[in-house]
Amino acid sequence: MSELTQEGVAKLPIQERGFINFFRKLAKNKIAFISFVFLLLVHLGVFLGQFVWTISPESVDPANSLASWTSEHPLGTDDLGRDVLARLMYGGQITLLVGFFSMVFTVLVGGIIGAVAGFFGGWIDIILMRFTEAMMSIPNFFLALVALTVLGKSPFMVILVIAFTSWMEIARVVYGETLKWKESEFVEASKTMGSNAMRTLFKHIVPQIIPTIIIASTLGIAWAILTESAISYLGLGIQPPTATWGNMLQNAQQYIWTAPILGVLPGLSITLVVLAYNFLGDGLRDLLDPKHHKK
């Protein structure tokens, strides 16, 4: 009897919440789950591999350049005799970190601009969203190239430039969501109770948008990795001898006929990681945003 509540409805079984439940649901989407496991392994390998494989990525051995796969160099060596496995790991660190932090800045800038424009409306909305649209109409890859040429090519600059040329999409998505939730009854209730604007925005509106932001961030990392690689490939990104997957690719193009594997390895790394992030993003969208219909 105590299990019955006022409306005669039996209590629901205790719902499993949090991460375990989340991964159980994610596991149902095979591609997304495989992508997730793959990304986990790649990140573990890239960031922890250096403790197992201790060869420096910058130790040059010209006598042993363009070596094929041996037990000493499992993935061979490059034109300067540097160990390719070590360079892939260290290059991956830079590439993935640049991807991650670019995404963080992208989400921060885009999220704040979108939420503020949508929530406050009026002239704030007009100024911010027209600015967003203006930014979208500039071919942002070329803007990034120009900015890097002018501002220098440190990893931090690369992160900033990627972020400031790719926040617009998130701003628009967050803007739309904010407009939608701003009209909801619980937001009005909160205002009626005397909640101030900041509290309403962060307690009531932002939490509703977080799933959308998570999806956008996952896809954003993929985009940032791709952009970083493209910029580095063009020689305008992070400069050698610091390895990134993008500048490894650039370096490899001179040996495309003699040692094609030098290009294939970083290229494959970029492609697979970007693909996995995209699959994971799609999987998360199905999971977190049930209203989104696949075309």
């Binding site: 409306e7 009854e185 619980f186 009626t192 109770m193 005397g194």
Partner: protein, 339 residues
């Protein structure tokens, strides 16, 4: 000697009963509508058009009317959730019409809202404890352990199991969610609650439970309700007095039983007659209203009801009737009241 004592007692009595908690004078709320891209003429939807009313402490005052009659807008204008365009509102003896945000925040502690939609009015990403404690948090009252204790107390008061306070609202049924909304509304011990279609979204069986809960809480906490509804049976059950609205105008006000048994305005009459009667043996001549409610952006001239009124005359087409007292406590806006 005895007479004068009696008179004095009666006066005291009426004064005690009839303390006005909310008084509205000539409230207007117009919504502009643009009639076309090129047209500069701005039309207005007169959602609330010059309404005055008084609500007494401790009573349940209901607003009834068809959809589009402006009853919700009036309720929201009275609490300044939507600012009225004209008119003055005084609450608990204070004029709140021109109060600023900070002053309103204080007044709002005493005037809370129960919303129609038990799904939309609760943030789906907040736990029940945080939902109910929201008014406490906003006003920085009760912290830490006291806050939990207050929420438990409130949950018990509205008939919810306090052990479920760390759940999310989607784990509750519609009626239980409405109880969460009620607990939130009474958290600050308010004097006045606007119940905006508070039970309309619920199943009939659950409606009765929630209405009974509201009645119990009213007795226990001395609440005043402004109850907005379109279900006439529930209004009859819960209300002390009723105001009938038609196209932004208040057409009749009076004690609930007086109005239900002897409606004075032809519109009230029609509304009550079309209400399904649970007694199958009662045979009443049904008066069905002709046509739809006219558009509030272009209301009829004179008495707004004359296009659908069975007893309208030429006078009704020209002269808008004022709300006047035809019997003590009974106000009607009609040239030819039925009583």
């Amino acid at each position: 000697m005895i007479d004068s004592v009696e008179v004095k007692l009666r006066l005291d009595d009426t004064q005690n009963q009839k303390k006005i908690i909310l008084k509205a004078d000539h409230i207007k709320k117009y919504f502009p509508v643009k009639s076309g891209i090129l047209s500069r003429e701005v039309k207005y939807v007169k959602a609330v058009d010059d309404i005055s009313l008084e609500i007494f402490e401790g009573e349940t005052f209901s607003l009834v009317g068809e959809s589009g009659s402006g009853k919700s807008t009036l309720g929201r204008a009275l609490l300044r959730i939507q600012e009225p365009d004209e008119g003055t509102i005084s609450f608990d003896g204070k004029d709140i019409t021109a109060m600023n945000r900070q002053q309103m925040k204080d007044v709002r502690k005493d005037m809370q809202v129960i919303y129609q939609d038990p799904f939309g009015s609760l943030n789906p990403r907040m736990k029940v404890i945080d939902l109910i404690a929201e008014p406490l948090d906003i006003n920085n009252l009760y912290r830490g352990k006291e806050r939990v204790e207050r929420v438990i107390e409130l949950m018990e008061l509205v008939g919810l199991d306090p052990s479920r306070r760390n759940r999310y609202s989607h784990e509750f049924s519609g009626g239980q969610r409405q109880r969460i909304g009620i607990a939130r509304a009474i958290a600050l011990n308010p004097k006045f609650i606007l119940a905006d279609e508070a039970v309309s979204a619920l199943d009939v069986s659950v409606q009765a439970q929630v209405v009974n809960l509201m009645k119990d809480l009213q007795k226990e906490l001395g609440l005043t309700y402004l109850f907005i509804a379109h279900g006439l049976n529930i209004v009859r059950y819960i209300s002390d007095r009723v105001g009938v609205m038609y196209l932004g105008k208040l057409v009749e006000v009076g004690n609930v039983e007086d109005i239900y048994s002897r409606p004075a305005h032809p519109y009230t009459n029609a509304l009550i007659q079309t209400n399904p009667n649970p007694n199958p043996r009662s045979r009443r001549e049904k008066l069905i209203l002709k046509g739809e409610i006219p558009s509030p952006s272009n209301p009829p001239s004179g008495c707004r009801f004359h296009t659908r009124c069975p007893i309208a005359s030429d006078k009704c087409k020209e002269v808008s009737p004022e709300l006047r007292e035809i019997l003590p406590g009974r106000l009607v806006a009609c040239h030819y009241p039925l009583i």
